[in-house]
Symmetry: C2
Subunit: 288 residues, 2 copies
């Protein structure tokens, strides 16, 4: 049920991207934007659509913020893969943008994807002006210097710092780097409906952390062919991760505990929350 729903939502997002990119001039930057948004799990977009469904908002409305959050996610990956950042040649089993095109195209495609995200959440189809402005404001905060970008900055400074990160440091870093956007995605549906996002906030905080612990586990245990990008990089770089700090066994236990917490937070939605509960379990069982 979850897997077929994830697939259906992912296809719907792809159709949305196809429409959007067909309206733009064909230059290397727009080609790179289409390439970078094509593929991936689209878990963030799924969270938007499912969170919206729990609040009675249909996919034709939710598709806009769902596509927007995938734009932000894609832009962050493009910039993160650049030589001066993580310097990754492969992503989702394909050459990264700066390898397939060049660095300038990668920088500009990322920049344009960020702008596109704000274009999409502010479209008339999304709802009242108040709701659109609220989605923009929260997305900007989740993406910016107190959200995702801060997380990336902390991550980079950790790499060059002498001081090893503590568990608390890594938790904060990850809450910013991946957690803030996951939280925005999971709560966007409540914002669309003008409803209270508390339950979905709790759900997504636990989910975001479980997601990152699972990522660290994949970096140790993952199969490069399935993960689609380099693995074992963190260990080689001597980087503190949840696995290096907790040990593999404890990291797995903690991830499972967080998934249970996430599911617990959905109690008030009853049966309707089943897809999101399955998504939480998927997050720590995935192979990529």
């Amino acid at each position: 049920m979850f897997k077929s729903q994830l697939k259906a939502i992912s296809s719907r997002i792809q159709r949305q991207f196809d429409d959007i990119f067909s309206e733009l001039d064909v230059v290397s930057v727009t080609q790179a934007m289409a390439y970078a948004t094509n593929g991936g799990k689209r878990l963030r977009g799924f969270l938007v659509v499912e969170g919206a469904r729990l609040h009675g908002i249909n996919i034709e409305t939710a598709i806009w913020p769902a596509t927007a959050v995938e734009c932000i996610h894609a832009y962050s990956l493009i910039h993160d893969d650049l030589p001066s950042m993580d310097n990754d040649d492969m992503r989702r089993g394909q050459p990264t943008i700066h390898v397939k095109w060049d660095e300038a195209t990668a920088i500009l495609a990322g920049d344009a994807l960020q702008a596109l995200a704000f274009d999409l959440v502010s479209r008339h189809e999304v709802g009242s002006g108040e709701i659109r402005a609220n989605l923009v404001s929260s997305l900007a905060k989740a993406s910016g210097a107190d959200g995702m970008v801060l997380g990336q900055a902390l991550d980079i400074s950790a790499e060059t710092s002498q001081k090893k990160l503590t568990f608390e440091d890594i938790t904060l870093l990850q809450q910013k780097k991946t957690g803030a956007l996951i939280q925005w995605a999971a709560t966007a549906g409540a914002r669309l409906a003008g409803s209270d996002p508390t339950a979905l906030t709790k759900f997504s905080n636990a989910l975001g952390l479980a997601f990152q612990i699972a990522d660290d586990i994949l970096d140790v245990e993952g199969d490069i062919d399935l993960v689609g990008k380099a693995v074992g990089k963190d260990g080689e770089a001597g980087k503190a991760t949840f696995v290096s700090l907790l040990g593999l066994k404890e990291a797995k236990r903690r991830a499972k505990e967080l998934v249970n917490e996430a599911c617990e937070a959905l109690k008030e939605y009853g049966e309707k929350g089943e897809n999101l509960r399955q998504a939480a379990h998927f997050v720590i069982q995935r192979e990529s």
Copy 2:
């Protein structure tokens, strides 16, 4: 009158930035954001505030979109200066971000400034939800793959292309690269008031083109100490510019003609448009 007003608005924008950055964690990325937004002419912010005044909107409201447009402008300069883009070491007489810090910090500071721009225009102080969403939507379009980023992409592809650009090519390129954001700035006041932006659109289209012709003239005639960045680069690179296509004399004549067009467009505002008229004259007389 114009010069003292430009200075007053610039100081007000600086105070706004000081407040905003004092609320962010002090990491190299936020320091770089403050550094990159400190200085410059702030002509775009001035256009927002003056355009707003023409529509009865005071500076305490207009300061938010004025600061936002300066964020977008600053981010575009940071990314444009990167080694894989224009590779400039100096900007406003100071080392560029990737020189003073490093490339990763420059990429992230630019990314966070873009997010901050959308945070600022969507704040409650700006107006109704409808007005805020309208400002976001138009700013996203002016900045993105059909606006500023498209202009930069066309500029980069022109540098590697065999084919020399025509006058029409350069006009389109510049309308996107600098014109779209200048137009947004000049029309934001009308949007804030929910009024018709037609006159300010005409004004800013002429102004934007005059601005770029003046930039090309400065690249040929400018004093490096006043311009604050490398000059003569375009000529050395064999790049087609308004000056190389029109000749210096005709470029100056055309710039003056455009300034007259810009002033003409302000007729309906009478005396109240005087600051903007002086701004248009300043654009082609400036030394930096």
